[in-house]
Symmetry: C2
Subunit: 115 residues, 2 copies
Amino acid sequence: MVVDLLGAEWADRVFHALADPTRRDIVVRTLESEHSVSALARHYPMSFAAVQKHVAVLEAAGLVTKRRKGREQLVRGDVGTVRRASRLLDALEAVWRDRVDRMSEILAEPDGGTP
Amino acid sequence: MVVDLLGAEWADRVFHALADPTRRDIVVRTLESEHSVSALARHYPMSFAAVQKHVAVLEAAGLVTKRRKGREQLVRGDVGTVRRASRLLDALEAVWRDRVDRMSEILAEPDGGTP
DNA sequence: CGAATCTACAACTAGATGGTTGTAGATTTG
DNA sequence: CAAATCTACAACCATCTAGTTGTAGATTCG
C-alpha cells in the first residue's frame, strides 16, 4: 500500500480531534503558549468540564500535552503531531501527482503496453 | 485573528470526513482514478448504502466530486481540497513558529522590555 | 419489452459525541 | 486549620454517526 498512515487509528483520532472549532482554537492557543485548563475554559461559552473533555480528546490524539504545575495542569500544543498530519495530507497529494505521472507515462508509450 | 479558516464550518466537514479509514481509502482511490460508487463499494466489508453515505460525506466536504456517466456516478477525488486542508495545518505550524520568533525577539532584547 | 444494474433515499438501531450537573481529591492561600 | 481554586471523573441526556434493510427511479442490455 502507499501509506500505512492512512489506515492508522492515529489518523482517526487526529482528524476527529481537529474536526471541532473549539478544539482547533485550543490547539492554536496552546501552540502560542501554555495555558491551564481553567484558563482555557474561560474563553468558551461552555462548562469547565466540557473544555476538559475537549482537552482530553486533543491529548489522546497527541495534539497537546499536559504537565502539572502546582494545582494547575498546563496544556501545551504539540507541533510535531500537526506536522505529521500535514505530511499525511501531503501523501494524499502525492497519490494524485503519481496518477498524473503514470498517466503521462501511459500517454508517452509508443504504441501502448497492452498488445 | 490569524486564520479565519480555523473557525470555518468547512474545516469541520473536511476533518470529520478524513477521520474515517474507509473514507480516507476512498479519497486515495478516487485521487488515483475515477470509480463508480458501486465499484468502490466492492472493496469494503459493508453495504452499498453505507459506502454511498461515505461518498456523500466526502462530497459535502468537497473532497470528491461526482459526474454522471450513463447509469453510473463516477467519483473523483479533489486534490484542491486536500491542499487547502494541508495549508490549514501549515497555518497552525506557523502559529507555533511565530511564538518561537516572538520568544527569540524577547530573548534578544538588550535588557528586557519590562523595566 | 423485460431483466439486470446502478443509484438514491427513507426508516430503523446501536453506539459514539458533546454537552450538562454534581461530587471528590489536591493544592494554594488567608 | 479552613476556604478557595483547579482538576478529575461519574452519571445523565439529546443528538449525531455508521451501519443495516427495504423500496423505488433511471439506465443499459438481451
